[in-house]
């Protein structure tokens, strides 16, 4: 019976507890084989276990595997036998939209407007526009919109027409098997279908499933009695309803049984009254897969699916040299010849690259990185045409500012500009924009034209001293400083310097009042003191010097990063986890070495088994004695010596222990007598000292006693063991044979 080919199995991987994880595993794990004869049921269904080994299967086999795993995970799942559309039965996807295209439209969440009516409101400004004009404008706009909509809808219709599948002669008769999950377990509230070849869930009213003949799982087989003409959504999925579902085995599976009115006290009556039949146990092996297989996931480590205008490729981790695990290419046309966009996902790369998006139209590449890189790069967007290791191309680099010492957040380079953005810097620098002039014939290198630095407001000093922007016009030798706006001010202080020529004054900065101008926003303050203006000039000349130096450093830094990136892109290295037993070669080598060493040690120990005869043999023949058997005479001598010595040694040990025991015991008794005699005149300290000492002595005496008895008990078995050993000793073979012979006699 087909029910017995379902073997519920619980998989123990991270995402195999939900139906989503299991169904995507099934769709990834198997190659799909459409039925050979599309209108008939398959002639034979191979077991789910074999399907797992073969890694391919027809819809029935896939459904069996999936249902087994789903039931193992705790779902109430069934295999559905019925009819479906051609695209589903043949696993044709090039008419479906790819579900995995990343959604890049930014999520804008507007805060909900506060419910409370505000107590204070601004008086609205008088509205002086004409309502009539507005109305007319709106009407006009609506008309235009309607026209546009019409054109658009027509276009869409045309596209839909074009994309319609070709007519199918046997539509509605194609046999297919898929999975049904019924509510009641693991938070499932509505019944739904799962297509095992795709790994997606569908509502029961999904149009691609046309007919439902029967459903079954490891507990029973149900035949649908109702017509499917109105779609599968109209069926009643309550399996207890006998008018809708005919049960193959009378009764219900255990969890749906109603035990009302059944006397459970007596087993036999219960069994008789209950009248439920159970399916025999499954004949199939447990459907486990190993961790390696789970990780490999795709048959042959690689799976390609063609969707509408999209090609999706998936790879097992470590199967590709550059660590790519998924690639989605979006094409302009149905024939998949002109690529528009490529998305790639990477895993286990040493350079921490996670995703790449290539825009073939804009010719732009966007790479994202995980945190933990040395240069703290998070995102790198660059034009494909930009020179790979130069800051003069168009590129944007975003950094993890928190980890960087200079708090650099973003860099935007183009041919003639170089913009730095900072966050949370201690000196309050926010941005630094640099513009360059193009190089000319004589000097092809670009030259710094303007540097604009922006600082945010420092609340600790008054706004008139707080610099907002510093603008260095390096080629005109002027400095412009804009200060922050004060509260309720719409203009700000400014200051303009023409830099003094240091060459003329011998390096000293001199102050000329006519080379500086400024505007003071507050009409009530005094004009600034020349000394302060002079200090500002000195500070800013210094700061310009710093900035220019900084720019040079930064450019070389970034060039270094880019070189590094180029290197990483051309020669990708994959990261191997420390505890990865499969791929960590260095560690593997280490383990193997350890193993061999261990083996060697045990080997040596085995070799060096102690031969009690060795010393005697050495005494008799010298240490280098070979394995030749001894003569009877020699053997008798050696054997006697050995046994005698053993016996003597045992005795000596016994005597030693006995002697010690006697001595300590006597001491203990003496002490005790002494105590009994003196116990009434002792000071408490002495008394407690005595108790401590006597406890100690008693313990030692006891220990010796135990040793003694143990020795007595063990000495005769030991002696016996030695004798047995000598009886079987290869060197004494001759002697033993003789002895045996004589004894037999």
């Amino acid at each position: 019976m087909v029910c017995t080919s379902i073997r519920p199995t619980k998989l123990c991987y991270s995402d195999t507890t939900s139906w989503q994880g299991l169904s995507s595993l099934v769709s990834d794990y198997f190659d799909y084989e459409p039925l050979r004869k599309p209108m008939l049921l398959p002639e034979r269904i191979i077991s789910a276990y074999t399907a797992i080994v073969r890694r391919s299967g027809n819809p029935f086999e896939l459904a069996h595997v999936l249902v087994s795993w789903l039931i193992g995970a705790g779902y109430d799942a069934y295999v559905v036998v019925g009819c479906a559309k051609r695209d589903v039965c043949m696993a044709i996807r090039y008419r479906t939209v790819c579900p995995e295209i990343p959604d890049e439209s930014a999520v804008i969440d507007t805060p909900p407007p506060s419910e409370e009516e505000p107590r204070y409101r601004l008086v609205p400004l008088p509205d002086l526009t004409s309502k009539y004009c507005k109305d007319m404008d709106q009407k006009e706009a609506e008309k235009q919109q309607a026209e546009l909509n019409k054109i658009e809808s027509e276009r869409l219709k045309k596209i839909a027409e074009l994309e319609k599948p070709p007519p199918d002669e046997i539509d509605g008769w194609r046999t297919h098997a898929w999975v049904l999950v019924l509510p009641g377990f693991k938070g499932v509230e509505e019944p739904f279908f799962i297509e095992p070849s795709e790994g997606n869930g569908y509502p029961i009213s999904a149009p691609q499933y046309q007919q439902l003949d029967s459903i079954y799982n490891n507990e029973n087989y149900y035949v649908n009695l109702k017509s499917c003409a109105e779609g599968l959504g109209s069926l009643n999925y309550d399996l207890n309803e006998l008018t809708c579902w005919e049960h193959l085995l009378a009764g219900e599976p255990f969890h749906r049984r109603q035990l009302v009115g059944i006397d459970c006290a007596d087993k036999k009556t219960a069994f008789d009254t209950e009248k439920h039949l159970d399916v025999p146990t499954s004949w199939i092996e447990k459907l486990d897969i190993t961790a390696d297989e789970y990780e490999q996931r795709y048959p042959g480590s690689h799976k390609v699916i063609r969707y509408k205008k999209v090609l999706s490729e998936k790879f097992s981790p470590y199967s590709e040299r550059d660590g790519v695990i998924k690639r989605i290419i979006i094409y302009e046309d149905y024939a998949l010849s002109i690529p528009l966009l490529t998305y790639e996902w990477y895993k286990n790369r040493v350079d921490k690259m996670l995703t790449v998006k290539i825009d073939h139209l804009k010719r732009e590449v966007r790479e994202t990185f995980g945190i933990g890189r040395k240069d703290h790069l998070l995102k790198h967007i660059y034009s494909m045409d930009a020179p790979t290791t130069s800051v003069e191309g168009e590129r944007t680099l975003e950094f993890n500012y928190y980890a960087r010492l200079d708090h650099l957040t973003k860099l935007v380079c183009t041919g003639l500009t170089f913009d730095e953005y900072y966050t949370d810097r201690e000196d309050r620098l926010e941005t630094r924009f640099i513009t360059y002039t193009e190089g000319n014939k004589f000097d092809p290198k670009r030259q710094v034209k303007d540097i604009i630095e922006t600082y945010n407001r420092n609340p600790d000093i008054p706004s008139k001293d707080d610099i907002w922007k510093k603008i260095f016009h390096t080629q005109e030798n002027t400095i412009e400083i804009l200060y922050h706006y004060d509260y309720n001010f719409v203009t700000n202080n400014t200051r303009f310097f023409i830099k003094p020529n240091l060459a003329e004054t011998g390096g000293k900065i001199l102050f000329y009042p006519d080379k500086t101008t400024g505007y003071i926003a507050d009409p009530c303050t005094k004009p600034p003191r020349p000394l302060d203006v002079y200090y500002a000039l000195c500070d800013n000349m210094e700061s310009e010097h710093h900035s220019r130096k900084h720019i040079r450093d930064r450019e070389s830094d970034i060039t270094g990063y880019l070189k590094q990136r180029e290197c990483e892109l051309n020669e990708p290295i994959l990261f191997v986890g420390l505890f990865d037993t499969e791929r960590n070669d260095a560690a593997k080598k280490g383990w193997q070495e350890q193993e061999t060493q261990k083996a060697e040690v045990t080997e040596r120990e085995k070799d060096a088994e102690i031969d009690p005869l060795a010393p005697y043999l050495a005494r008799m023949f010298g240490s280098g004695h070979g394995a030749g058997a001894l003569t009877v005479k020699e053997a008798t001598l050696v054997r006697e010596q050995c046994l005698n010595d053993f016996r003597a040694k045992q005795l000596a040990r016994q005597n030693l222990v006995q002697e010690r025991f006697d001595k300590l015991n006597a001491e203990y008794k003496n002490k005790r007598l002494w105590y009994l005699a003196n116990q009434f005149i002792l000071t408490p300290e002495k008394e407690s000292a005595y108790f401590a000492l006597s406890a100690e002595l008693a313990f030692q005496v006891h220990t010796l006693e135990v040793r003694l008895t143990r020795h007595r008990d063990l000495s005769s078995p030991r002696f016996k063991a030695l004798e047995d050993y000598l009886d079987k000793h290869p060197l004494l073979k001759e002697f033993n044979r003789l002895r045996h012979y004589y004894r037999m006699k």
Partner: protein, 554 residues
Amino acid sequence: MSEKKSLNSLIIHPDIEPGVIDNAMLTRCILEYGPKEEAGRLFAEEGVHLDEAQIVRLEFQNILRIDHLWMLKSLRKLTLAHNLIEKIENLELLVGLNELDLSFNKIEKIENLDELVNLEILTLFHNKIRKLENMDTLENLLVFSIGDNLIEDYKEMSYMRRFRKLRSVSFKGNPCCDDPMTNQFLKSALTRVTYLDYKLIAEEERESGRALFRGHLRKLDDADEKAEKERLAKEDYEAKVKFYALSFVEYLSGPELLDSMFEKDPDGSLLLKVGGELLGFYEQYKEQYEETMAGLVQFAQEAYNSRQNEIKLFKDLVDNALEDSVVKSKMVVAGFEEKKKSLIDQMNELIGRFTSKKATIEQLEPNIIDAGEAFNDIIYDLWKKLMTIEMQLYEQCEESRVQFAVNMTEMITKLLEVSRNAFGAWREHEGMWSMRQFEALSKLLGNKIMLGDAPPELFEVMMDRDQMMNLIAQSSDNHMRFIDAREDLLMTRANNWRDELIQGANDNEIKRNRDRILEIYYYIDNQREEWTDMQMNMTETVDPETAALLGDDF
């Protein structure tokens, strides 16, 4: 003779001209330690502003008396080292002083430093001080140097324990430093000090010192702890009063006020001494009072919170409106700057043509006039836009300001009503109390046996009905007056607060409005001036050849 005299003067009394602090000396010293080179030139050119000087160093000036420093209003660091000063004085007005150096003088007593609460660094090295005193108000003291003085007893230094922020002390060179215990004591007693004689104190050293002076230190610790507790309790109490004062009900929670009422009323307290039944009534009265006032206090607290909320709502609205208008105005100004730039470029080109003699002034005149008109147009446009934005802001906020005033008045009125009820209830309790008092006392009137152990004055009163009646009436009157006064205080304070708030909001808005308009006009004037300057420059540029010809002529 002359030789002898000179020798004498050299040895015994070199003729020192004692220095007197005056304007000239201050100016000289400030200039001397001021900036150098180019900055120094500018500094000197500008002249010394005594009221702006932050650092003044008067060293080696042979000053005998500290004086005439009051005009150095913004002084932060004052150095009077290496002088002949004998007394610390006349420093009261230098409140902002942060660092004071009086080392190498002849000071004998620490005094007159009470006003310098911001002082962080105080150096009294090499003086003649024997005792540490008069520094209790210097709570911010961070570095203190008392080395090379005449302190005989190292226990004196436990005075320094009270400075919570003190981190560095230098003490070397005092007579008691010969005693090896001194160092030990200082290290263990000054627990908060990190550096002694500019050396870090190691934890082990502290420990060993602690072992030596255990008893003494424990005493000091206990005293400190007690003082600390008192200080905290006082702070708590004051904070509480301050907090309640915000809702106008300070001292009303708890029986405090009632007690003080009886304290201020000798007649009432005298009668209370009769005891017996009266004390029970008194307790009852107290209870009733507390209950009434607790209700009032709670209501006042809630009213305070809702008032704060109201103020916040209003403030938020006004601030946001202001923010918007400022942003808008800034955009207008930026737009104007843009337009101005193109005009200025145009003008510069004209000037260039004129100076390079490609065109005469007559030829250029129509162009210049055109540019001028265009500039006037954009200036007018700027003015119009900025003023519109400002006027709109003012008008938009006006109504909500009125609304705010109305709401505030309403809230205060409600609070006053509740307080009137509460005080009415208090008066009732008072009336009942006085009645009960009368009844209770009447029972005892003239009863010599029951009043046997009463104080003589009370006894006397209780013997005479009229006298007793008088006393009760007086006490009751007193109480009523007290209650009236407290109620008046609450009412006036609440009303004043409201008036100030509303008036303040209005005044601020008007001031803000005026400031803004002033700024707009000032900016526009500035722009006009700039433009005219540019034009003037052009017309004034007489070409050099003409000038040369003219020069020949004259």
